[in-house]
Assembly symmetry: C2
Homo-oligomer: 326 residues x 2
């Protein structure tokens, strides 16, 4: 029994809007086996949960394991999570609401499960093994199509009454600013996400002020990805660089509010946008945040790029399972 | 020895910009003795600390005690505090900086001392004995001449890397808004503090749109106190009521950002402004915050008026000393 105990493993699972990914880790947090499936939109919650369980089973099969060989599974999901009860509260992209995911998965597989927000998972991975290792209070800001945030406080994911997803993307940074997907105006996400930047850039390209972007991506928002923005700047599109700098300044304003509230030591910047242009984002965000915080908090925090790769979310989910379920 | 141990008491101390107050509590947290002194501006830090110690000694004398009869002293101070090291970091009103208050006071009196931010102290008192009793995550927003904030998270005062004063008053709520005392623009404090409201009200009165306020207080900001505002509204100054409602809306916007980040169960509203007009502030703040939070957080929190009197700060400091030093 003792030796079979030793061989048990942790699994991380990342439930994304477009794909789901299960990874089994060895004791050094190297990936032993993985399985990826497309997240099918328009399915019922039950079908979705079945698909999650399927993905887990295929990963187990690849590793020649059964669920009995797992110490536990950590599942990172978008949106707000009721962590106490393992409930996925709201997943508008898939039309899911109040899914008791922890219970459903652990019942089916017979092993312990922990559920957390995916951005919290990424931040937790950076805290355990990446850019915020050992810090007392770290926040993660991940700018991609939207802007997500996470916070690890004294070794735990910060959450309030019941839920928390540290929604820094929905701090208001511009009074009467652009409409945000959440229904409000002027949220950070509405002025500094990839989508916000792409729409400004497309307008600029359409006017003829960003010839390289226009030649490469046209004015189709779905084509103006982070890489396209970064190469248009490299080729000399000054107007696009200015749009990125302005977005970075707004990210700095939102971070300043967080610093004034909870005084993190480390702010991790990640996500597709930042990964494509770290040298543009990181110093501009730091400067803007540092300028805006109260004097006592000036230079009290670092802004660093995320260290872990794309897998931060799934790794963080597994690490969190280890932390919570050990 | 055991019986003398039983008779030991906790002391709370509130270091304010204009007065300092020491109170000794019995085991039911009733005040046994107190001493109040004016806080003298323009003194050196050493003179200031001596005056604090003096005030404590007079309170002890009134109670016919010595410092040996104290289990410990909690001292609430304005501004950011390094709680790990008991250092008062910045008190611009008095020109003090980096004062190692805990060490100085405990050395002189020979009893344990804990230092905390005064708004944190007030919030902690509400958590222990007032409007937020037993909650997992409570924030306090105290609107007076300025706007201070505090947060009690899982029974502890929330603080980040080293310092935190939960400076909700310096969240930006208006892009390019009025200049704030901190040097920035559009901070909550610059649009919704008593001073911000008084200056708008004075302008309105000067223009002839608030006859009751004009008759009672003129256009002198130092005379437009919370009580004057409230009675001008009672007498029919609609324009002043609108100014208060607008300020409440901005407080709601800042609270929405905090809810999106840490999801408190309870938001305590206190301070002179709110105490003078709770029926105007509390519902407007709740409505505005609830409207602005992300859907998952809607109706996830209460907004309640502070329950404890003026003494919340000094009581909270004593309660915190008990919590930290027991």
């Amino acid at each position: 029994m003792a030796s079979s105990e030793k061989e048990k493993h942790w699994m991380g699972f990342d439930l994304g809007g477009t794909k789901m990914l299960a990874q089994i880790y060895d004791e050094n947090w190297k990936v032993i086996a993985k399985e990826k499936k497309r997240t099918k939109p328009g399915t019922t919650e039950r079908q979705g949960v079945d698909r999650i369980i399927d993905t887990i089973k295929v990963a187990l099969k690849k590793a020649e394991m059964t669920a009995e060989d797992l110490k536990g599974i950590g599942i990172g999901c978008p949106g707000p999570i009721d962590m106490d009860n393992g409930i996925l509260m709201d997943l508008p992209n898939l039309g899911w609401e109040a899914v008791p995911l922890r219970e459903q998965v652990s019942k089916e597989l017979g092993c312990p499960v922990a559920i957390l927000n995916d951005v919290d998972a990424g931040t937790y991975a950076e805290y355990r093994m990446g850019a915020a290792k050992g810090s007392r209070c770290a926040i993660g800001v991940f700018a991609g199509t939207g802007i997500g945030g996470g916070c690890v406080y004294q070794g735990e994911i910060l959450r309030g009454a019941k839920i928390s997803a540290f929604e820094i993307g929905h701090i208001q940074v511009m009074s009467n600013g652009p409409r945000c997907g959440c229904g409000q105006r002027g949220c950070l996400e509405s002025v500094a996400s990839r989508l916000a930047i792409a729409s400004q850039s497309a307008r600029t390209a359409y006017r003829g002020d960003a010839p390289n972007l226009l030649a490469h991506s046209g004015v189709d928002l779905s084509k103006i990805r982070s890489g396209a923005l970064s190469s248009s700047i490299e080729k000399g599109d000054k107007a696009i660089e200015e749009i990125i700098i302005e977005a970075s300044r707004y990210i700095g304003i939102a971070i300043a509010s967080v610093v004034n509230l909870i005084s993190p030591e480390v702010v991790i910047l990640g996500g597709g946008l930042v990964e494509a242009m770290p040298d543009l984002f990181v110093p501009t965000v730091l400067k803007s945040a540092n300028k805006r915080v109260m004097p006592a908090y000036r230079d009290s925090f670092k802004v660093v790029p995320a260290k872990l790769e794309d897998d931060a979310g799934v790794l963080g989910a597994a690490l969190w399972a280890e932390h919570r379920l050990s």
